[in-house]
């Protein structure tokens, strides 16, 4: 914009005002003529004499212009005239031009978006922390390879003794209630060690961060550092925030500082809004599975495992030597860890491989997406090359004319180059626009889906990535387009002038064939990918999750946020369920700790099976849920044997347990055989199996069946539960009514959410569906492009052979035989391309396997579908132009050109 302004302003200084100059010359001639007339000359003679005296007007104008216009502007003008010419000639072929623009827009937009995400996750997984990709994470591993968190005493020992790290911090993400009563809301916090901010290098913009001194006495550091977002949203960026108090889980905390605005915590995807000293965890109701009752007890309990120590390695320490050093410390202190299933050894991984961290889910999908994005771009380039090649034929006359008129080859090449550039620019521009606007839209969409929980993606519109992608795509488009353009400029003048447009030499034929083969093979791979993902989506849609989420409302409560102790909490849940069951619109009501298809990993516990001796490398740790009576009825999970939990399974009754079918079959062979057998959870008392329930998709729709067990709520109380209601009418209305039931019992109790279960499950699969949709778009885009490209190239061949077709038809060949000949040529190339595509798709199978469910990467149906589509495309692209050529009058064919 500024350049335009400047140019307008300087225009007067940079250019000759031609009208004004013309007027000046006219005035000059008039005066000179009048002088001569005054001297007595004839007017006509005087006029001619004046003209003669003046000399060459055009040259004078040129000279005068040269005074005004610098050389660079003159060159720019020439370039602009090339650009104008290019734009005009491209506008005359709108379908060709729009196709290329659309191809590049899509290719650049999709690639830039994917690469931006990839870069953000791989290079800076933690927003606001420099070099966060270098953070190393320590975790324990059982003999069976299951990752384990560490306890506070183990963390502290490593922190004080491990010389491989420049410092080790710990952080546990936690859901807490902010504020008191009904106005409270649930936020994500991190319970962090005192050195957390120092090691990460995160500063406070107001007040201070947490310090090592804030990690001295369990339960005695009621302070908090809040995020800049919370400060802005809840406190209107109050400059006097330091020293103010906030309520977290009904405890008063004093704000000591506000963290840097770029920092959103170290839990990828979660928008952490407050940082609390880890020493305050027991005060907030977190005991980390410890049986200790005092805060001091919990922090010396090696069974209370809750975080992964992490930090930067000291300079010069390799990951291998860090593992060796850390494990040496671990083995030396093994005697202090009494637990049988304590981690056998420690592992150290880069931050992005944090066990169960969001990047471990997202990265494989992104890699598949980026691979497919590159394939689309490759097709796009091959396509552009093909289109330019085809266009070159119709321009042979024009180019020959230009050469004949004395244009240099350099000048012609420059024109063709400018044309390619003009062709590539709008696509690049729109692609950048698509990526720049698409990324925030995607992020906002994901954030809206996650409501009321706040999530944060460290994905900024990365100008560098987008610019780079655009440059690469644009550059390759120009280069790909330039090679055929170069061939077009190598026109045999005599041949063209003799109206002989038949192709010269085999080089161009080979290039054409190679382009067809390349497009067919790449689009075959894309089609296989799209087919596999479509089949995955079908399988996921048809997969039975093991329960019926329709007509179910879930209401999340956390009594520890309101300071309920166990007796009062039990009473509350009993009264709430009684009141809900009395409601005529509610068919069934129960509570459980987790919803099925939870997406995020839920609690797992170690079990012992009576009469079963686990192998040394066997890890009997299974996911678990706590459920009240009527749970299986409410969710319509079939009970295959025995019974479900009942009111009689309370504290005074014998301990019971319900397992799922997979667990029952694993140890007792069948559901029926499991009834009456005994098992224990986390070294607790022996529990009798009273029921076997059907398998459920506990985390994700694409998970394989896994062993699972349920503990009765009445025998294992927890304060944080989710009420499940099966309702008769509208689920939205029921969700509102459920809030009223809660408020009637305790008007101050915060409700984390009350929502239909089906909607949440839909939202939970959003990333998966998004990836599948994008893959399908890539596949379809690639296929359409390849079909268009092939069609164009075959039409080109046919066009060049019109002469030949005319002669054959004139000599009595049937239209069918002519079409058959072209079809055979096309199919030969199509088959070669398909074979290369099959090899490529098989080789790339490992890449896509991670996003598949219910189909194998070598799924015959997907391969067959892709083959049919590709060969059909090639057939159509060969037959239609050949048929059209064969139908034309042979004489017009002969006269063609």
């Amino acid at each position: 914009m500024r350049i335009l302004d400047w140019l307008t302003r300087r225009r007067r200084d940079l250019d000759l005002d031609e009208k004004d100059f013309e007027a000046e010359i006219r005035a000059h001639l008039t005066i000179a003529t009048e002088e001569r007339v005054a001297d007595g000359a004839d007017r006509a003679d005087a006029h001619y004499a004046a003209l003669r005296e003046f000399g060459n007007v055009t040259r004078t104008t040129e000279e005068a212009r040269r005074v005004w216009t610098p050389e660079w502007l003159e060159r720019l003008r020439n370039l602009l005239s090339d650009v104008r010419y290019a734009v005009r000639s491209l506008a005359r072929n709108p379908i060709f031009s729009l196709t290329v623009i659309a191809v590049l827009t899509l290719g650049i937009g999709l690639n830039a978006a994917v690469f931006t995400m990839l870069k953000a996750l791989a290079l800076s997984p933690v927003a606001g922390v420099r070099g966060s990709s270098n953070i190393a994470v320590v975790y324990g591993e059982t003999n069976a390879g299951r990752p384990l968190r560490l306890s506070y005493p183990d963390y502290r020992y490593l922190r004080d003794h491990d010389q491989a790290f420049a410092g080790l911090f710990g952080s546990a993400v936690a859901n807490v209630g902010l504020g008191r009563g009904r106005n409270s809301r649930v936020i994500w916090t991190e319970l962090v060690t005192g050195n957390y901010f120092q090691i990460l290098g995160v500063r406070a913009i107001t007040g201070r961060t947490l310090l090592p001194n804030d990690e001295i006495a369990p339960g005695r550091h009621p302070i908090v550092v809040i995020s800049e977002g919370l400060w802005r949203r809840d406190f209107g960026s109050d400059p006097d925030i330091v020293g103010k108090n906030i309520e977290i889980n009904s405890r008063t905390f004093t704000i000591v500082g506000v963290a840097d605005p770029t920092f959103h915590g170290t839990t990828v995807v979660y928008d952490v809004e407050a940082y609390l000293p880890v020493m305050m965890a027991p005060e907030l109701g977190f005991t980390f599975g410890s049986r200790e009752t005092t805060a001091a007890g919990i922090f010396s309990d090696r069974r209370a495992t809750f975080f992964y120590p992490q930090g930067y390695l000291r300079p010069g320490i390799t990951p291998e030597s860090a593992v060796a050093q850390t494990n040496a410390l671990w083995t030396a202190t093994a005697g202090e860890r009494p637990r049988a299933d304590a981690p056998a050894q420690l592992r150290i991984v880069p931050f992005r491989q944090t066990p169960n961290g969001a990047p471990t889910y997202i990265l494989p999908t992104l890699i598949v997406l980026s691979a497919m994005g590159v394939l689309v771009l490759m097709i796009a380039c091959a396509n552009i090359a093909g289109l330019v090649l085809v266009r070159g034929v119709s321009r042979r006359g024009e180019i020959a004319m230009r050469l004949a008129l004395g244009a240099g080859r350099r000048r012609i090449l420059r024109l063709l180059f400018v044309e390619n550039l003009v062709l590539a620019m709008p696509g690049a521009f729109l692609g950048v626009l698509l990526a720049a606007n698409g990324i925030p839209v995607l992020v906002a969409y994901a954030e809206a889906l996650a409501e009321p929980q706040r999530i944060f993606f460290n994905i900024e519109v990365d100008r560098f990535v987008i610019g780079f992608t655009a440059l690469i795509a644009c550059g390759s488009a120009v280069v790909f387009g330039f090679v055929p353009a170069l061939q077009s400029s190598r026109v045999d003048l005599v041949a063209v002038i003799n109206e002989d447009a038949a192709p010269r030499g085999a080089a161009r034929g080979r290039m054409r064939a190679a382009l067809v083969v390349a497009q067919v093979s790449v689009s075959f791979m894309l089609l296989v990918g799209a087919g596999l993902v479509t089949r995955t989506l079908e399988a996921a849609k048809n997969a039975y999750p093991g329960f019926d989420p329709g007509q179910v409302v879930s209401v999340a409560l956390d009594l520890k946020q309101s300071g309920y102790e166990e007796a009062r909490g039990r009473r509350f849940y009993r009264d709430l369920l009684a009141s809900m069951r009395g409601d005529s619109t509610i068919e069934a009501a129960t509570v459980a700790t987790y919803e099925p298809m939870n997406v995020v990993l839920t609690r797992a516990q170690a079990v012992a099976i009576e009469g079963y001796e686990p192998r040394r490398d066997e890890d009997l740790t299974y996911l678990t849920n706590t459920a009240a009576p009527s749970y299986f009825r409410t969710l319509r999970i079939p009970v295959l044997a025995g019974r479900e939990f009942e009111e009689r399974d309370d504290e005074s009754a014998a301990p019971v347990i319900i397992v799922n079918r997979t667990l029952a079959e694993r140890f007792w062979g069948s559901a029926g055989a499991a009834i009456g057998k005994r098992m224990r959870v986390a070294e607790g008392e022996w529990r009798t199996i009273v029921g076997v329930a059907g398998d459920v998709k506990y985390l994700l729709i694409n998970e394989p069946p896994r062993p699972y067990f349920y503990l009765p709520f009445l025998q294992s109380y927890r304060p944080d539960m989710i009420v499940h209601l099966r309702v008769k009418g509208s689920v939205e209305v029921a969700a509102r009514q459920a809030r009223e039931h809660v408020a009637a019992l305790d008007p101050d109790l915060p409700i984390e959410f009350a929502r239909p279960m089906a909607g949440r499950i839909q939202g939970a699969t959003i990333f998966f569906r998004l990836a599948a949709t994008m893959l399908t778009i890539f596949g379809i885009a690639g296929m359409v492009l390849a079909a268009m490209g092939t069609y164009g190239l075959v039409s080109y061949t046919v066009k060049q052979s019109t002469h030949e077709i005319g002669i054959r038809i004139a000599l009595g060949a049937s239209a069918n035989s002519v079409v058959g000949q072209f079809l055979a040529r096309g199919l030969r190339l199509g088959v070669i391309g398909a074979v290369i595509g099959i090899i490529g798709a098989l080789a790339a199978g490992g890449l896509i396997r991670s996003v598949l469910f219910g189909v194998s990467a070598t799924d015959v149906v997907s391969f067959a579908r892709a083959l049919i589509v590709v060969l059909a495309g090639v057939t159509l692209a060969s037959v239609v132009p050949a048929w059209r050529a064969a139908r034309t009058n042979p004489l017009s064919g002969l006269r063609h050109q």
């Binding site: 005035a27 005296e53 000399g55 000279e63």
Partner: protein, 121 residues
Amino acid sequence: MAKTPDDQRLELLQGTLDMLVLRTLQWGPQHGHGIGQAIRSQSDDLLRVETGSLYPALHRLVKRGWLKAEWGVSQSNQRAKFYRLTPEGKKQLAREESRWTQLVNAIGRVMKPVPAPGTEE
């Protein structure tokens, strides 16, 4: 109007046209044709300025800010573009005159050496 045979006409030295134009305009604003005529008559028809050189020169001087161009009406009631010296142009003319004098003196000394006293010390 006195006529001088073509072979007696002098070619302008490189770079002197600008100076002549500036000098001519010292007497007041003038249009292109007038400037050409003035140079011609003041040089007794020895110097003829080609319009092909005059106009580019005029534009060059305008661009450098030494002249200012304005449309006006001539004595014979003709519309014409008049060129006028700017204060900057006056300074430039002074500079060129002194340079010209130095040049003429220097060339004069080379062409007609006058042995000065004490030159062969």
